[in-house]
């Protein structure tokens, strides 16, 4: 800093100092700011072009009647939204999305926490188990789904295992309730390892003295878990639940491969319905309207979770 001031003063005294003037303008702070702008430029340009512009366009498209097959593109105002409210499928699509998301989030978070707690015991070989539980995260999503499609057939591997136990299994992907259950479970097993690892890192950050103190105060294992562990890892619980909720609303490949939204429309979640409308039936205007709906739902849920944070997330500071 002192150096700049000296040069600046020296440059100011000179009468015609082209190099000095250049130096005066390009102070360290200015040069830094320039580098800063250059560094964020790709990300900013990308956000503008591939996030903000399409977001605006999606709103604009949702006001158009746009059918590529029919070759129409005209402004229709709120017609698509009226169509959305009158859509006979909307109810079942929202129900399927809600069932899928609720089932996934509850099952994923509770299983992830259970596995993390089990792996956090002082046991030998937990690294091996951690790898095994985590391994589906690393298996290609469509490959994983294809294997399950095959395991869930009437005469597939799951029913084979059940038959060994003397139970006759259903045709999983053909019944409405079992199809939904199947896509939820297949997705939970695929991704629970991610949350498990995050929980495990959080659990390892809980100071042992706190448990010892709680134990001295007569707290049992469950009480220690509820009153020491849960508050201390609550920031991680919040983070994983946001990631998992948003992720659950994005499910597509699993549905497309396992059930194609069926049987009936029982597993047609919002993104799959959007895909059908926009890219199979080529109703781009209506597809854009469904995108707006998806955006509103995701934004509302995320904001809600941030609000709840104040209520139950424990802050050390």
């Amino acid at each position: 800093m002192a150096v700049t001031q000296l040069t600046r003063r020296a440059a100011g005294r000179a009468d015609h100092p082209p190099p000095g003037r250049a130096r005066r303008f390009w102070t360290i702070a200015r040069r830094d700011a320039l580098v800063g702008y250059l560094f964020v430029a790709p990300q900013l340009a990308g956000s503008a072009l591939f996030v903000l512009l399409p977001l605006g366009l999606v709103g604009w498209y949702s006001l158009q009647e746009w059918n590529v097959l029919a070759g129409t593109f005209e402004f229709v105002g709120g017609d698509n939204y009226a169509k959305l409210l009158a859509d006979a499928n909307l109810r079942s699509v929202l129900t399927a999305s809600a069932l899928f998301s609720a089932g996934l989030v509850v099952l994923n978070l509770s299983l992830a926490l259970t596995l993390a707690v089990l792996l956090n015991q002082r046991l030998r070989g937990t690294t091996l188990f951690r790898t095994l539980f985590f391994s589906p995260v690393l298996v290609s999503l469509v490959a994983w789904t294809i294997v399950w499609q095959f395991l869930l057939q009437k005469d597939g591997g799951v029913n084979g295992l059940l038959a060994v136990a003397g139970v006759e299994g259903p045709n999983w992907l053909r019944g409405e309730a079992t199809a939904m259950l199947s896509v939820v479970v297949v997705q939970v097993i695929k991704n629970v390892g991610l949350n498990m690892v995050l929980f495990l890192a959080a659990l390892q950050g809980v100071p042992r003295q706190l448990y010892e103190a709680a134990q001295l105060d007569g707290a049992g294992a469950w009480r220690r878990f509820r009153s020491v562990t849960v508050p201390l890892i609550s920031p991680t619980i919040l983070l994983t639940s946001i990631i998992t909720v948003v992720g659950s609303l994005q499910v597509f490949a699993q549905i497309a491969v396992l059930t194609q939204g069926g049987p009936g429309t029982s597993t047609t979640v919002l993104v799959y319905y959007l895909y059908q409308q926009a890219f199979q039936f080529r109703h781009f205007g209506y597809g854009a309207t469904l995108s707006v709906l998806l955006f509103v739902i995701v934004a509302a849920l995320t904001l809600l979770q941030w609000r709840l944070r104040r209520r139950w997330v424990f802050h050390e500071s």
């Binding site: 830094d32 580098v35 800063g36 560094f39 790709p42 990300q43 900013l44 340009a45 990308g46 956000s47 591939f50 996030v51 977001l55 999606v58 792996l119 015991q121 046991l123 070989g125 951690r130 790898t131 095994l132 985590f134 391994s135 995260v137 690393l138 298996v139 290609s140 999503l141 469509v142 490959a143 994983w144 294809i146 294997v147 399950w148 095959f150 591997g157 084979g160 038959a163 097993i189 390892g193 995050l198 959080a202 948003v246 994005q250 597509f252 490949a253 497309a256 993104v271 959007l274 895909y275 926009a278 890219f279 781009f284 854009a288 995108s291 707006v292 998806l294 995701v298 934004a299 995320t302």
Partner: protein, 276 residues
């Protein structure tokens, strides 16, 4: 911990890991069984007879080598590109002061709120209008510059904020410019975070399914996830053993590489500010 508790815990862990391990095991072993044994009852854990013909069929029915190369090079470009974009932007937002910084950061963060499915309709129209549908450009440009890279930028920023600044200050006092400080001092220190970003990004690109099926229509340009679902007979029924052979070739190499490298990246993942 008593012996009984310990045994119960081991038993519980073993039972719990069945659904995590069995599908992958089943995929690999069934892909080398003759089709008649694939649905045999009771299911066999190891193939009794071997039949490798599905592995040949994979390459006969689809331009599978080309599709493999497509997926690999797209994922590699996306990974390297995202690391560069996110490291620079994350560093600037964390370390450099410039006017409008916070407003710009909030603007970028909007990308975190928007699942890519929300913008797929206009993005398809934009790339279609630019004559780039049925090319790999949308699968490369959007992840590197658009919403998917925002998470990476966020991770990098959190990492740099938590990183003590003394080393960088020392480097600057020694006369290294801003770029040199970033490239020679901060970036090497950021290796754990970069590693986590690289793995996330690679897996994200490798698994992408909606985008390829929306943009691509020529089989030789397909990516692997899209190709996997194309092994069907004339009636549209899946050719199970061929699908499983293709799935094995898609999943197994990545799985092996990541399991071998898992220590670095599980720990990297846990230390990237994602911990909350």
């Amino acid at each position: 911990m008593s012996r009984r508790v310990r045994l119960t815990l081991y038993g519980l862990l073993c039972v719990l890991c069945v659904p995590f391990v069995f599908p992958t095991w089943w995929m690999v072993t069934s892909s080398v069984k003759p089709i008649s044994d694939v649905f045999a009852f009771p299911p066999a854990l190891l193939p009794r007879r071997w039949d490798l013909s599905p592995y040949r069929q994979v390459f006969e029915l689809q331009p599978f080598t080309q599709q493999y190369v497509n997926s690999l090079y797209i994922a590699a470009l996306v990974t390297v590109g995202t690391m560069a974009v996110a490291a620079m932007a994350g560093y600037a937002f964390a370390r450099i002061r410039f006017p409008g910084q916070n407003a710009l950061f909030v603007l970028v963060l909007i990308g975190l709120l928007i699942p890519s499915e929300v913008t797929i309709v206009p993005l398809f129209q934009m790339f279609h209008g630019a004559g780039l549908s049925d090319t790999h450009w949308p699968l490369i440009l959007v992840p590197v510059l658009g919403a998917p890279s925002v998470l990476a930028t966020f991770i990098m920023r959190q990492f740099f904020i938590a990183l003590p600044g003394e080393l960088e200050e020392a480097a600057r006092v020694d006369g290294l410019g801003r770029f040199g400080t970033f490239y020679r001092v901060a970036l090497p220190l950021a290796r754990p975070a970069l590693g986590a970003v690289a793995i996330f990004t690679f897996l994200h690109s490798w698994n992408l399914y909606l985008e390829p099926i929306v943009y691509l229509s020529t089989p030789s340009r397909f990516t692997l996830p899209q190709a996997l679902t194309q092994f069907v007979d004339n009636y549209g029924w899946p050719l199970w053993n061929v699908q499983l052979a293709a799935a094995t070739m898609t999943a197994l190499p990545i799985l092996v590489v990541f399991v071998l490298a898992q220590r670095q990246f599980i720990e990297g993942l846990a230390h990237t500010g994602l911990k909350g």
